[in-house]
Amino acid sequence: MTPIFFLLFAAVAVFSALMVVLQRNPVASALYLVLSFCSLAGLYVLLHAPFLAAVQVIVYAGAIMVLFLFVIMLLNLRKDVEAGVHRTARQLFGWLLGLVLAAQLYLLLRAPWGLGPQGQEPAEAVQAVGNTQAIGLRLYTDYLLPFEVTSIVLLVAIVGAVVLSLRQGKHEGIEEAP
């Protein structure tokens, strides 16, 4: 069964990612991105990481992309006008570089490359569908400091966002009643 699901999710992910790039309509791009994220969540499930799958949906689809949509609507952006300064050059070089990079990655992946050492944790602990606990233990023991630092980063981000979105004079955040 697994390969079928993998192909399904992979196809959806790639397609929607492509659409993100191609779509002219920001909202459509955003929605495609949501789709791609959701299919990534599916892939996580296939990779025995259901916790991350759920978090992926909650954080990316549920929060981040909503924020994107929110801003798009707030700025009321409809279709992009893809004119602008040296547009053709941008398109041309962009895709060209993309192709070169693709070729390189292809070579890189074809070249023989080995895996690092296997982890200490028993396979079943990780593979077990309920590896939330394993992650939690890792998070609060080995990676406690990074965890705390991350929380500080978040705090800073909050403050920064608030400061940025305070209009001069009036004190109202972005999400005041429109």
Binding site: N25, V57, I58, L69, F70
Partner: protein, 341 residues
């Protein structure tokens, strides 16, 4: 159980289909009656009989409404973003059904027992935003847009509190699987009180109920569709079956979320006297029904919050409250497990 003459895979598939169908009916079937109940309750709260013409006690009224809606004209506003415009109503239905797939209705009566079931629920409720937001935006109508923006802001704000309010339960049950959580609530307290987490987590329960109202955009948090100011807000541009979809979506969400609330706080299928085999589901739906009635009751009793009041409640009251609750619970659990010894 194995159906004779089927390969395991096929057997699994068949059962999956059966479960799914059962669930969908479980979510869809009650909707008309909830609608009916809403109108009845509203009526009685306002000292009037409510629908009582079509069928006994007007029980058939909802179906009459559906027929009416079916024959309404489909409208498609100019400059609407077609795809999104069509997408939104469907999105309104999906999360509710998906959530039901992880909710255990009775012992061994559930679609799946995902061990991150609670997270799935949170994820789905967070996806619920899209329907409202997109609906509001795609119609290219300023009321709709405002409704959509309000909805997204409101739902993001209240998701936090919702997630935090259930942490207490997770800590107590030590699992994210809804089935495990329900099983952890079996037995009684001091011999007479059922060991439901509502008694362990009164604060969490209260907070959850509030956020529940907000997530489903019900009064007093129905700013996205504030009839009196936004003329139905996000679905102002919708008519006929698309409108019906939103209509149903709202009630399905209410059902789903009440089911989750029952699972988390009200001991799920646990109940006295009846044999769990068929008594479990009965108790479960009874509790859900009670919650639904509360929904209606609240709707017809309370006035709508102002936007700033909404945000203050969400960020300055519920969030700290739920955080504190989580910490206290964690402390209690730590003491219970004797980690300080």
């Amino acid at each position: 159980m194995q159906i004779p003459g089927l390969s395991p895979d096929l057997n699994w598939f068949v059962w999956a289909v059966i479960k799914v169908v059962a669930l969908m009916t479980a979510v869809l079937l009650p909707v008309p009656f909830v609608v009916w109940a809403e109108r009845k309750v509203a009526g009685h709260i306002q000292f009037r009989p409510g629908p009582n013409r079509v069928g006994p006690f007007g029980l058939i009224q909802p179906f009459a409404d559906v027929v009416k809606l079916l024959f309404k004209e489909e409208t498609l506003p100019e400059k609407a973003d077609r795809v999104v415009y069509f997408l939104a109503p469907m999105l309104a239905l999906i999360p509710a059904i998906t959530v039901m797939s992880v909710v255990p209705v009775g012992p061994s009566f559930y679609a799946t027992d995902v061990n991150v079931g609670l997270l799935v629920f949170l994820a789905m409720s967070s996806l619920g935003v899209y329907a409202v937001t997109l609906a509001g935006w795609s119609g290219n109508n300023k009321y709709g847009l405002i409704g959509g923006l309000r909805a997204s802001a409101q739902m993001i704000s209240y998701e936090l509190s919702m997630g935090l309010s259930v942490i207490g339960v997770v800590l107590l049950a030590g699992s994210l699987s809804l089935v495990t959580i329900v099983e952890a609530q079996s037995g009684t307290l001091f011999g007479f009180l059922p060991r439901w987490y509502v008694f362990y987590q009164p604060v969490g329960f209260a907070a959850f109920v509030l956020t529940m109202l907000a997530e489903t955009n019900r009064v007093p948090f129905d700013l996205p569709e504030a009839d009196s100011e936004l003329v139905a807000g996000y679905h102002v541009e919708y008519s006929s079956m698309k409108f019906a979809a939103f209509f149903m979506g709202e009630y399905m969400n209410m059902l789903a979320i009440s089911a989750v609330c029952t699972t988390l706080f009200l001991g799920g299928w646990h109940g006295p006297w009846l044999p769990p085999a068929w008594g479990g589901p009965l108790w479960f739906f009874t509790k859900v029904a009670v919650l639904m009635v509360c929904f209606l009751w609240v709707r017809w009793t309370f006035p709508r919050l102002r936007y700033d009041q909404l945000m203050n409640l969400g960020w300055k009251v519920l969030l700290p409250l739920t955080l504190a609750n989580a910490m206290v619970t964690a402390l209690g659990v730590a003491l219970r497990e004797g980690w300080f010894r």
